[in-house]
């Protein structure tokens, strides 16, 4: 009976031991494998011998030889049992040491989230991330035959179809000492390399954290969405009336619904928790200024920005409203003689068509209109913006909308050489923009503000095609009429903006399809039609030849993007 028990113990121990040793082997030939194989074989032989012992005992009546053999077998079995126990214990000790060492070793992870290094205790993490966006844009019905005489690409005709490296970014982000987050992001796309984000975010108190450095100003909801998370190739009009990335300091915080735990946010802006807020002071550089290398300020005036956002129905039990987020943001500044025309490109102080990204209003490109002579426009006085904003996500459905009321005091000067002939005019320019976009994930995945994660990554051999999302958007912009009025006299006209070069109103309608091959790769295709009213469409006039102000032709663009983010 005792022998039988011993056999059972061995039979249980050996396979367990084999399973335990299988872990570290990893396909590599481990000398312990051979040893265990021998032990297993030996146990098997001994078991067979012991099973045959009743017969041997019977035989023993005729002589003592078999009993001696049985006693020897028992000894061998005991020895073997000891060996197995020693090996088992040694393995346990090895495992304990390995676990202990693993706790002390920094972790390196390489996966779809990029490269991540984490210190042994988890207090420090550094992650290398990157993104690439390769775009193609084709403009339709834009040839000169459809345009009035004197028209050119600056007025919406003959726009070059193009391939663009829209984005090529590398960044480091992470956490040091559990609570200090940081991000350093460099943009290599476009014609110059520039630092887009560089901030330190001290998160010791989740309800009162402090971020310092260059970061997105918390105004436009769509601007705050990750650059690669948006539903369309480009953002809509409200974003272009907001400041872009600015250098400054921001107090921000998040609150969980009472009774619930706060979720860790990534970065200074939170889209996870019940209520969040941001209050910041920034250098301020005006609407949609290029974020490239905005690192200094030459004036004392600063831009004050505040935003509050809430998910009022979070954890309410009303599932359909759980993903509803509403908020409002605002800014105020009082710049003195700050240039609003820092360049002539689409990314510098210009208003552009969303997907086409063609400038249709550029404060720097007014030129000297006959009898006008406006040469410089500066922001010189109160500038405030108000941004009501909301989104709603429920299962595969998504809606996002925002409106902006922006008012800025602009000073225009004819730049005359003498004080006697200098003419200066001021207007309070009130601009408005809005957008609403809807999206639906055809393959049923959750639609979120932070993009869509396909349930099954693209793998045609397994019948997996990733996720598909259809999107639609309406967006509009209205520029203050006063900008286009004659502020001078009939004989000495003075226009802030030249209606033959800039438009008063733009309305865009866009539809698109997004194909998420996996969580990193997305193919997007959008069509957008933008209609303009209020000018911007004809060539410049002269004193001898009266101006003919017509609308800029509508822009029809088909754009595609191949995007990789890790």
């Amino acid at each position: 009976m005792r022998r039988k028990k011993q056999n059972l113990k061995l039979a249980a121990a050996v396979p367990g031991l084999l399973a335990a040793f299988a872990l570290p082997a990893h396909g590599k030939s481990d000398p312990r494998d051979a040893l265990l194989e021998r032990l297993e074989k030996r146990v098997h032989e001994l078991e067979q011998k012991l099973a045959a012992q009743p017969a041997a005992a019977k035989d023993a009546k005729q002589g003592g030889g078999a009993l001696t053999s049985a006693s020897g077998d028992k000894q061998a079995l005991d020895d073997l049992g000891r060996k197995v126990r020693v090996l088992e214990r040694k393995f346990e000790v090895e495992k304990e040491v390995a676990t202990d060492n693993a706790k002390k070793s920094p972790k390196f992870e390489m996966g779809s989230d990029g490269l991540r290094f984490t210190s042994a205790e988890g207090d420090h993490t550094v992650r290398l991330r990157g993104s690439l966006q390769g775009d193609a844009k084709v403009f339709m019905d834009d040839n000169a035959r459809n345009a009035p005489s004197g028209s050119n690409s600056a007025r919406g005709n003959n726009i070059a179809d193009r391939f663009e490296l829209r984005q090529a970014r590398l960044w480091l982000e992470g956490t040091l000492w559990k609570d200090i987050d940081f991000k350093i992001m460099q943009e290599f796309g476009g014609s110059t390399s520039s630092l887009f984000d560089a901030y330190i975010d001290a998160n010791y108190l989740p309800y009162a954290a402090l971020s310092v450095g260059k970061q997105k100003t918390p105004l436009s909801l769509e601007r705050l969405q990750g650059d690669a998370d948006g539903n369309f190739l480009e953002r809509a009009y409200p974003t272009y009336l907001a400041s872009n990335r600015e250098v400054g300091v921001m107090l921000h915080g998040s609150f969980a619904k009472p009774g619930y735990e706060l979720e860790k946010r990534s970065g200074p802006v939170d889209f996870k928790n019940f209520v969040s807020y941001q209050l910041g002071v920034f250098n301020g550089s005006g609407d949609n200024t290029s974020p490239a290398n905005v690192t200094t300020d030459t004036k004392d005036d600063k831009e004050f920005v505040g935003r509050i956002f809430a998910h009022p129905f979070q954890h309410s039990g009303v599932d359909i409203l759980d993903g509803l987020g509403v908020g409002i943001a605002g800014s105020w500044e009082q710049p003195m003689n700050r240039a609003v025309a820092s360049g002539t490109t689409a990314t510098a102080a210009s208003l552009v068509s969303p997907i086409g990204q063609n400038a249709f209003l550029n404060y720097a490109n007014q030129g000297a209109r006959a009898n006008s002579g406006t040469s410089t426009i500066t922001a010189n006085g109160d500038h405030y913006r108000l941004y009501p904003q909301a989104y709603w996500y429920y299962g595969p459905y998504g809606l996002l909308g925002e409106y902006v009321d922006s008012s800025q005091k602009l000073l225009a000067s004819n730049g005359a050489a003498t004080a006697a002939t200098t003419v200066k005019k001021t207007i309070q320019q009130d601009n408005h923009a809005w957008q609403i976009q809807a999206s639906y994930v055809l393959t049923g995945e959750d639609n979120t503000f932070q993009s869509v994660k396909p349930r099954a990554p693209f793998d045609p051999s397994a019948g997996n095609w990733g996720a598909f999302q259809v999107v639609g958007r309406l967006s509009g912009l209205t520029v203050d009429k006063a900008s286009f009025s004659n502020l001078g006299s009939t004989n000495s006209q003075f226009y802030l903006l030249d209606p033959t070069k800039s438009i008063q109103k733009a309305n865009s309608f866009a539809v698109g399809l997004n194909w998420f091959l996996n969580k990193n790769v997305r193919i997007m295709t959008d069509f957008e039609r933008t209609s303009f009213t209020g000018g911007g469409g004809t060539g410049a006039g002269t004193a001898a030849s009266p101006y003919r102000v017509t609308d800029r032709p509508s822009e029809n663009v088909w754009g595609t993007r191949f995007q990789l983010v890790f």
Partner: protein, 326 residues
């Protein structure tokens, strides 16, 4: 705001309570369980404060590294002075002269290393030279991770030194044979006890004297017996207040009192009851019968802990040389 006020008031009410963390080595669990209760009672009577002492146990070397790496120990009660000294050497958590802060070089009790064998001593083990015999499997911790194991090693070395004199090659060979006969090298003393007692591995357990008594007490004197070798080493497990931590916690006074109390009659009695050799002559005399007399060498015979560590236990030291080939 109301929540804030309540929180602050609540926090204020808790100020009267104090918590300490004692980071110790493997076999002191039972000692400090008993001692902590006695100290808490003593402190309550003396100051009215409620003190809660949390314990952390593991291989002494590992425990010292954990404190260096940020484990917030108010006090350490480790297996050997070298490990405590690392708190100064590596992280300046304690003063350089930490050993002078308490009597007896901050070692309130002592112990030594003995053998535990199975009942009837089937392999006839009497002394260290029985451990080098073929077929005698010993169980003990690894000197790389355990303070107690380093005491074991040095005790064996001292025995060999007495036996072979200046013949260092013979000494090394002797100690090497002991480790070649080790069935399992655990990470700590308590792990070795588990291996020997519960897993039924090996013929002899080389361990702390207090741990040996505990084996008999917990697992039965009818199953095991203690064998005291002719020579062993005087193990002096030291204690220290971790100044940097107590300053931060505001526990300097209670932490010092906690270790001071180890030297009191009551503290010494608890140590003796847990089979640690007390320093107090009166208590030592009371428990004299419990502790057999044997020849004990001290760490000074090895030039102190720093020298012993450097010669024998650092990477590439004698232990690596003799054990590396196994």
């Amino acid at each position: 705001m109301a929540a804030l006020v309540i929180g602050v008031l609540g926090g204020g009410a808790a100020v009267a309570d104090v918590a300490l963390l004692n980071v110790s080595y493997d076999p002191t669990r039972e000692l400090y369980q008993q001692y902590n209760a006695a100290f808490a009672k003593h402190w309550k009577e003396k100051t009215g404060e409620t003190v809660t002492v949390q314990q952390s146990h593991g291989g002494g070397g590992k425990q010292a590294r954990a404190v260096i790496d940020g484990l917030n120990a108010d006090v350490v009660t480790l297996a050997l002075a070298y490990d405590v000294d690392q708190l100064y050497q590596k992280a300046k958590l304690i003063p350089e002269d930490w050993q002078s802060k308490f009597p007896n070089n901050s070692a309130p009790y002592t112990s030594t290393m003995v053998f535990v064998v199975r009942k009837g001593n089937p392999k006839g083990i009497k002394d260290w030279d029985d451990l080098v015999k073929d077929g005698v499997a010993n169980v003990q911790p690894n000197p790389k991770s355990s303070g107690g194991a380093r005491w074991n090693y040095l005790a064996a070395w001292a025995f060999a030194q007495k036996k072979f004199g200046a013949n260092e090659a013979a000494i090394k060979d002797f100690v090497a044979k002991i480790y070649k006969n080790a069935a399992v090298l655990d990470t700590g003393a308590r792990g070795s006890t588990t291996t020997f007692v519960e897993r039924d591995i090996g013929d002899v357990l080389v361990t702390w004297e207090n741990e040996a008594f505990l084996v008999l007490k917990e697992f039965g004197a009818d199953k095991f017996e203690i064998v005291v070798p002719s020579l062993s080493i005087l193990a002096e497990p030291p204690v220290a207040v971790v100044d940097d931590v107590v300053r931060k916690h505001g526990t300097a006074e209670v932490a010092k009192a906690y270790l001071d109390y180890l030297y009191s009659k009551e503290g010494q009695e608890i140590a003796a009851k847990n089979f640690y050799r007390p320093r107090d002559p009166e208590i030592a005399a009371k428990y004299a019968k419990q502790f057999p007399k044997l020849e004990l060498v001290t760490i000074e015979a090895f030039g102190g802990w720093n020298k012993a560590q450097k010669t024998h236990f650092l990477d590439g030291g004698v232990f690596d040389q003799i054990f590396g080939g196994k």
